[in-house]
Amino acid sequence: MISFSRFVLPNGLRVIHHYDPDSSVVVLNTLFNVGARDESSDKTGFAHLFEHLMFGGSKNVLSYDKAVENAGGSNNAFTNNEYTNYYISVPAENAETAFWLESDRIFQLNINPQTLEVQRGVVVEEFKQRCHNAPFGLLWHHLRGLLYQKSPYRWPAIGEDLSHIENAMLEDVSAFYKKHYHPANAILCVAGQISEEETRTLCEKWYADIAPTGEVNNNLYISDPLPKTRRFMETEDPSPNPAVFMVWRGPAFQNPESVALEFFADLLGGSEISPIYTLWVKENLVFNDAAAFYVRSHNEGLFVLYGVLNEGETHAHGEKCLLETLSDAIAGKFFTERHMERVKNKATSALLFEKASLINRAQKLCYFENIGEINRVQDEDAVYRNVSLQVMLKTAAGNINPDAAAVLYYHPKQSS
């Protein structure tokens, strides 16, 4: 149970308070309802670039980071396809510093050519480090490109093309800020050793005067029809191992079917005792790594199945092995009531450990508020308990058509 209270300021900012007397810190977690899906196709990676610019200081705060450090605090942020999340954690006695900092950068961020130039360089290096230097670093570019043709979900948060970031202009990022960074498009969670009364007082002082300047993001996007046939691409990668990746689109986070698919993926390939791993890594030595997982997200999820091939194995054989086991699993060959009890116990444990962290609780509250169902933060375990074996298999059969996978073959890059 996560205890919380909620109120809305006249300018539209939604505030959630969560008290934790055992903590010595106060966390302010701010979720902006803007992510990579809100970018135009010729300016991808902007939500993430903007996340970097948010640390460049604001009208009344010359250096954001210096001010955080001066208060003994720490901060960070992340961007995904659906939202951008910032958090700051400070010693409880310095809570007001966090209110000052977070409100000022919503109120008037200092976007200037110098900050933009430096952060463009930083993000370009981040792109290279994550996508070009890491094995299978462009995986999500390829997979999303196979799944979507028109939808803005077809590129990952880091951006589709490095040149979009390299060419980002000041007027572009200023327009992005104006459109998306305003109180009504944000959710603030104040968590830790701070009372509700003090939270209300500080919110009133620091946030109430921010004008309601923009529209709430209506989150309407072009949707691609679900693929009905196999889609395929092959590419090279610096990784020395060839690999086969397969992905399907699935139901949204709010749909209980997404939990059923998460369970199905966990049982199919979520650990070293799953059929995918035991059959093809341990017994038949086709892969040296293989797994399945389901990414639950707001609009729709992604079901991923992959194997990294051993020397001498072909991609076609690898794909056949994965699909054969997937089909057997959907047909009910592997899983019993004991498996269901196991996967539910695992999910409950993961949930309890996740909730042990103050920052996780604050982020969870913001996430559920953003999807318009904050009270469901209390029901996650009940949703887990309601998934039966029959429902899980029926959901898998209804959502994962082995003949309609998006399939990606990786080949090791040949030396020139």
Partner: protein, 425 residues
């Protein structure tokens, strides 16, 4: 709105506020350290053996033995043992560091008895089946070969090998043949000597009170003395190399790694080193991060740190950047190192670091699972319980002159080895 012009007063943090773990000696002779109970529904039990990869020139044996300790016994297969944990929603996470091996049992409070009993019964007498070792070799070799494609891997490896020699206890880099040469008999022998359950320290945290302690006590059996291997393998003293270059055809960036060996330090020296490191590259406001990333935009991330070695510490600096910027970044890094002696932090810079580090030091004790790792660090390094409190005092008492002298003694750039790996221009 003029109130926004002035920052709210930020108070300084000069004290720590945590309840230290309680140490219990249980009937079987085990020492159990417990954190204050928190009403969470979950528990972590940390078993720690004082023996890691540093105790063997090739680290692979220690790692393989710990990784495979739950991979089968006389009666049950790896899958059956793992299924027993997962059924209760529990997990037994295994890890090996330079100086210790650990097992963390994560479990719901309501399933503590079942999962711990399962661990003690099924993990007591591993047989290290040939099949499991064979799979381990296949998986680990592929994973190693993938890591070997990254510039970061080679810059750090070549730097460490230049500092300590290729076969040193401190050079924790494996080759595919080390993995291939593993034998079941060696794993059994290593387990027998160093990793048996009774010869571990035990830490409990989370929703753990008297009732749970009674459960643990009833299941643990009789303790055995902690077995630290007699000595580390010999550390070599290779001829000093100042510059190493390693070109990689497919890389898109260059990884910069600088390193230097430090001897064993006194407690006060350790605390000073740790604090001086903050100015170099220990946090976002450090000189490296501010100059290379925030001013010049040369890198996504650059940082420095102190990592324990078998005989002291290694001071390192690491970052990834565009190939045209690598030499520029190396020059800037050297200037920053020299600058800590010639223009050491004063005034606002010193005050800001003090405030940041003290705030983070206190925050490090926040959360239900923070204490075991901190106490394990003290015990492993024979440090007193007052270590963290005296570090807080040191943060606030250290002078600019002391920082300058320390940097002059330990941070001269010409005493560091620089390795650049990746797309060299």
């Amino acid at each position: 709105m003029t109130f926004r012009l002035t920052a709210p007063e930020a108070k300084t943090i000069k004290t720590l506020s945590f309840v230290p773990p309680k140490e219990y000696t249980m009937s079987g002779g085990w020492s159990l350290f417990t954190s204050p109970k928190r009403d969470l529904g979950v528990i972590k039990l940390l078993f720690c053996w004082p023996c890691g990869t540093a105790h063997k020139a090739a680290p692979t044996l220690a790692r393989a033995t710990q990784t495979l300790r739950l991979s089968g016994n006389k009666n049950l297969s790896a899958e059956e043992i793992q299924e027993g944990f997962e059924y209760w929603g529990a997990a037994a996470n295994l890890d090996v560091g330079l100086l210790s091996s650990t097992l963390v049992l994560q479990t719901q409070k309501q399933h503590l008895e079942q999962s711990l009993k399962w661990l003690m019964e099924q993990g007591a007498e591993p047989v290290f089946p040939e099949k499991e070792l064979s799979v381990f070799k296949q998986v680990e070799t592929a994973s190693l070969l993938r890591r070997m494609q990254t510039p970061r891997y080679w810059s750090s490896r070549l730097c460490f090998e230049a500092l300590y020699g290729k076969d040193s206890a401190d050079t924790r880099f494996e080759n595919p043949e080390d993995i291939e040469n593993l034998r079941v008999a060696e794993l059994k022998n290593w387990f027998e000597k160093h990793l048996r359950f009774p010869a571990a320290r035990l830490f409990a945290s989370g929703d753990f009170g008297d009732e749970e302690r009674a459960v643990v006590e009833s299941l643990l059996g009789t303790a055995a003395p902690l077995k630290q291997p007699a000595s580390f393998s010999q550390t070599q003293n290779p001829e000093f190399k100042s510059n190493i270059r390693h070109g990689m055809e497919h890389a898109q960036q260059v990884s910069l790694y600088m390193g230097k060996r430090l001897p064993r330090l006194t407690i006060q020296e350790m605390q000073t080193a740790s604090f001086v490191n903050m100015f170099l590259g220990g946090f976002f406001g450090s000189r490296l991060m501010q100059d290379l990333r925030e001013t010049q935009g040369l890198t996504y991330g650059v940082g420095s740190g102190l990592t324990p070695s078998a005989h002291g510490f290694t001071w390192y600096i690491n970052g990834e950047m565009n190939s045209q910027n690598a030499e520029k970044a190396a020059v800037a890094t050297r200037e920053i190192m020299l600058g800590l002696t010639s223009s050491p932090p004063v005034g606002e810079e010193l005050e800001k670091a003090r405030r940041y580090v003290s705030g983070q030091l206190r925050a490090g004790f926040d959360g239900p699972f923070s204490l075991p790792a901190k106490w394990q660090f003290l015990l492993q390094n024979n440090l007193p319980e007052s270590y963290y409190a005296t570090y807080m005092d040191r943060i606030w008492s250290i002078t600019t002159d002391e920082i300058s002298v320390f940097a002059d003694n330990y941070l001269r750039p010409d005493s560091f080895t620089l390795a650049l790996a990746g797309k060299l221009s």
